[in-house]
């Protein structure tokens, strides 16, 4: 195993290379593009045996990836934000084909207003597409989960696209120390694309895929089968992670629990910002707090049982959503609340929305969230949802609005 310094994008590219992908339909979009650039250079130099095609859009790109997968090659593709949304019709479609391939999504906020920096509304908009979702928080997890993702997608009982998600900027452009899996070990872990399966178009072997149905009962059957396959991906993922740990020595699972065992209070969040929460947990522990972090790696299927078990008996849980469902609130909060409903001993939940469009979450904000959570737990009164947004940010916003001619010039301020 080789120790390397890699960005999240570099790690994703290495993961695809180690997975010996055979086909890469691509389309550039910030902050993902470095992945396809890196792979294209390896393909040009002969270091990878893979065909890359720059398509005309993400809609075409996802179609091609799914079509190649059902024709019988290992396909991989990558996008971000608007690209994921542009391809959304096909994401649902190829998942319905039961096409196993891996899509890397580099999370970035959605338009309008268009932006470049990360949040999770892009990936969460794919929540109901039947694609499996794996969320990474370090560059190491990215490279490892590329291998895991192909195993999972290609499992006969799953046969669904898997999305490996990493945050733009905070992972995509950030270099970290990564243990690069040894190619032979990667080959041992991930066998070649299953050529024996039903995934093939060949002469003399009639197959009509992705066909239409008329009538709700036929439709219901296929749709519910995809749901059951998705549910099955949870135990399957756990098993693949065990295999992975046996070969590579790194342990994964649907949840990462950090200093959670004796914790009375817990942060719940996904993605790269969760490592900031770890830092905050360390600092708070030093100050005498019994606090931990629970981070779902797998978000679809939803790891309901593991989450309920991990949070059972806690005093309070702060769910930090880097997304927002307009008219409802934080999506992770909403889902966790539904999972815990009716469970005796369920903890008090507090909802925080922060990190939208790449807004930083500062150390003191984690400390403050812990304080709010503790006070709310003491009185058993859930606090109202809180957007992490300071008075100073509002002042700055007012100055921008003034320049934009959207509000009258603020009295006493000259710019």
């Amino acid at each position: 195993m080789q120790r390397e310094l890699l960005t999240g994008n570099g790690a994703a590219a290495w993961g695809a290379r180690l997975a010996r992908i055979e086909y890469l339909p691509a389309f550039p979009i910030t902050p993902q593009t470095e992945i396809i650039e890196t792979l294209s250079q390896w393909i040009d130099s002969g270091e990878m045996d893979c065909r890359m095609v720059t398509m005309d859009s993400e809609h075409s790109m996802i179609t091609a990836a799914g079509a190649a997968a059902v024709t019988g090659v290992r396909a991989c593709t990558a996008t971000s934000s608007q690209g994921l949304l542009h391809g959304m019709e096909m994401l649902y479609t190829v998942a319905g084909w039961r096409a196993p391939f891996v899509l890397i999504n580099v999370s970035r906020g959605l338009a309008a207003p268009i932006t470049l920096e990360p949040d999770h509304n892009d990936i969460l908009s794919a929540r109901d597409s039947s694609c499996i979702q794996l969320h990474c928080s370090t560059c190491q997890e990215v490279v490892d989960h590329m291998l895991i993702a192909f195993r999972l997608a290609e499992s006969e009982e799953v046969r669904l696209p898997v999305i490996v998600n990493l945050d733009g900027f905070y992972l995509s452009f950030t270099r970290e120390v990564v243990q690069l899996p040894d190619p032979q070990a990667a080959d041992a872990f991930l066998p070649p694309y299953p050529s024996s399966s039903s995934l093939r178009f060949r002469a003399h072997e009639p197959v009509s895929a992705g066909v239409a149905v008329l009538g709700g009962s036929t439709y219901s059957y296929f749709r519910y089968q995809a749901h059951l396959a998705s549910l099955q991906a949870l135990p399957r993922y756990e098993k693949i992670c065990l295999d992975f740990a046996n070969i590579f020595g790194r342990e994964y699972g649907p949840l990462e629990e950090y200093r959670n065992e004796d914790a009375q209070y817990v942060f719940v969040m996904i993605g790269s910002y969760a490592t900031k929460a770890k830092q905050a947990v360390d600092s708070l522990r030093e100050a005498g707090w019994k606090i931990g972090l629970v981070r779902p790696r797998m978000l679809r299927p939803y790891p309901e049982a593991p989450l309920c078990a991990a949070l059972q008996g806690k005093k309070g849980v702060a769910v930090i959503d880097q997304n927002i469902s307009m008219g409802k609130g934080g999506i992770l909060y909403t889902e966790l609340k539904s999972a815990l409903y009716g469970h005796p001993g369920a903890p008090l939940l507090a909802s925080f929305i922060g990190g939208l469009g790449g807004r930083d979450i500062k150390e003191e904000e984690f400390f403050e969230m812990a304080t709010v959570l503790k006070q709310a737990s003491a009185t058993a009164t859930p606090p109202p949802p809180r957007l992490l947004y300071t008075e100073e940010e509002m002042r700055e916003m007012r100055a921008l609005q003034t320049i934009a001619g959207a509000i009258p010039t603020v009295q006493g301020e000259s710019r």
Binding site: A26, Q82, H86, P113, L400, T402
Partner: protein, 307 residues
């Protein structure tokens, strides 16, 4: 074709520049140079309907260089946005909710990534529907805003972020002018900032017409093409003088070349100024590719001159 516009000589070019300074475009941006020349003529009674590309960053809250209107749509659908704006203005005019003087010229603004690729379906549809609009593509021959990967507008042999091999991009630049002209719209023209008089005459002509009017501006890109920003206009001139970028227009079913280079310079004069072609000259000359590029240009002009 006789020039009936107000622009007879360079002395007639606008003296006042009205596109705001302070944009985040790269120093020496050939696309911005074209846009500001165009804006001087079109003026602020315009709404620019934008597709994702470098110029999306022209308007980043709360800053915009435009004195008129702007609407960012998405990468694939700017012409559809133009349709909505045009139709709405027409409805309001018909109902006399707005005065004729409140009307705007609707201008789609896209890069080649959208124009040659993802946006071509929406463009084709808008021409089919005879939409009364102007379409302006700033063509920097690659996906510039993401770091210059090859696009359908990338010429043969060019090194881009996704064609770094020794032979560069294996494909050929798509002939978007002909694709547009095949729709038989009102007007199609190629332009370039380095030829401001030709550009001004074409913009003035396009403004005087109705229906779909499409403009394709070659946009030398210091960042993506790898040349010193100070050479931006010089490279544009060379593109015309070597015959790489034919200046022409399609109107009334005819294609007319507005500037036929008399003593066409060898294409190398254009190529060697740009880092993206370095591999054709160093470490050794790629004679075959250079000859192929020259032959294709010669063949094009042979047809023009002998037809």
């Amino acid at each position: 074709m006789t020039n009936t516009t107000a622009f007879k000589s360079k002395r007639d070019l606008p003296q006042k520049h009205i596109l705001g300074t302070g944009t985040p475009m790269c120093p020496g941006c050939g696309g911005l140079a074209a846009l500001h020349e165009i804006y001087d003529i079109m003026g602020d009674k315009t709404v620019f309907v934008n597709a994702a590309g470098c110029m999306t960053l022209l308007s980043v809250y709360p800053f915009t260089p435009f004195r008129g209107a702007w609407l960012y749509t998405a990468m694939a659908s700017a012409p559809a946005g133009a349709q909505g704006v045009r139709d709405a203005l027409d409805i309001l005019k018909a109902k006399r909710t707005i005065k004729p003087d409140d009307d705007l010229e609707v201008i789609v603004l896209t890069g080649d990534g959208s124009a040659y690729g993802m946006g071509i379906s929406a463009t084709s549809g808008a021409i089919d529907r005879d939409l009364n609009f102007i379409y302006l593509c700033y063509d920097n021959e690659g996906y510039g805003n993401t770091g210059h990967q090859y696009s359908a507008a990338t010429p043969h042999g060019v090194k881009t972020a996704t064609s770094k091999g020794s032979r560069g991009y294996p494909g050929y630049k798509k002939d978007l002018f002909s694709i547009w002209a095949a729709h038989k719209p009102t007007y199609v023209a190629t332009i370039i900032a380095a030829e401001p008089l030709d550009l001004a005459q074409k913009i003035a002509k396009a403004s005087s017409l109705n229906g779909p009017r499409l403009l394709l501006a070659l946009a030398p890109c210091p960042t993506g093409w790898s040349f010193d920003p100070s050479l931006s206009i010089e490279i544009g001139k060379k593109a015309v003088q070597t015959g790489v970028w034919p200046l022409k227009e399609y109107v009334d079913g005819e294609v007319v070349h507005t500037k036929i280079p008399k003593n066409r310079l060898p294409v190398e004069e254009y190529l060697k100024l740009q880092g993206r072609y370095d591999h054709l000259f160093h470490p050794q000359r790629d004679k075959k590719t250079l000859q192929e590029i020259q032959d294709r240009i010669d063949a094009y002009w042979h047809k023009v001159e002998y037809n």
